[in-house]
Symmetry: C2
Amino acid sequence: MSEFVYRNKEELLYSQRVAQLSKALWRVIEKDWQCWIKPYDLNINEHHILTITYYMKGASVSDVAKYGSMHVSTAFNFSKKLEERGYLTFSKRDDDKRNTYIEITPAGKALIDEANRHYFDTPHAILEGSLKIKELYGRFPEFLEVTAIVRNIYGNEFIEMLEQSFQNLSHTLDTIDDVKHSELMKEA
Amino acid sequence: MSEFVYRNKEELLYSQRVAQLSKALWRVIEKDWQCWIKPYDLNINEHHILTITYYMKGASVSDVAKYGSMHVSTAFNFSKKLEERGYLTFSKRDDDKRNTYIEITPAGKALIDEANRHYFDTPHAILEGSLKIKELYGRFPEFLEVTAIVRNIYGNEFIEMLEQSFQNLSHTLDTIDDVKHSELMKEA
């Protein structure tokens, strides 16, 4: 060690603070996420892989690993399991023989839609914990600092992909409601 | 399901956005944390238990679980392993026979001091990712939104304990530098 800790004390304290906050936040989200998708016999990585292939509309195994914050081997192994259950298919592209691409099947989409339809059947502590902020400021927190840091670490592409997938998710949710609406109209 | 997804679309999109950002942030922090403490043959939970007992100055197993965002059984099992290695001792208190208290040993403190002394020997992506923000605003981000949400979910006590432990950590770092400084003086 060439320097005094003191010189970097601010950095050390800052990064350990972020580590503890991030651990606490993630533990809560992880628990809620697991509870939400339990009825569909999926773990978090499997669910994440399905949503990425759904909303990205065609992704390679390395895309899935990158955007799902998991190892390539984790992405590959869980994708294989999802393929066995009929939720994904693997393919090679004529213009890119090196990468393996993953596509979600209609059964996979139906499973994700079903999970979204039942999103509010289980508790989401992150929502409970954010409501006071929404009452105070009139909207949910924007996480600009976290987004900026994630952007600096993972690159612009990561955040752009995140925004794109949320737009696609948003459209999907509208479709779910349209279907629901027309079902109710028929019943009436 | 009694309601349209649409009515809660904002909530669903918000909480899934936070989930993805939180996963991405935690994966980076987890990797850096593991890399930092690897030379001391500790995993993240073991290191977290040692720091909590160090900076809280006496904690029960349930305190460790609460402030370390881990299950009570996880806290207990890893504490037992740390006891076997001579870094912790277990005890009962005369005024509280129900809870088991954990105390860090001098060897445990020495290990944590040693890890802090070598903090900058390994990369910390969170620091790299925050430096542009520091350059722009003159200081590191404060994570006020995340802190508020964690406070709402875990309670005031959790954040107060976090602040207290960072103050204690800060004092400990000063001591490390004092020792280092006097060693250098002797050498000179």
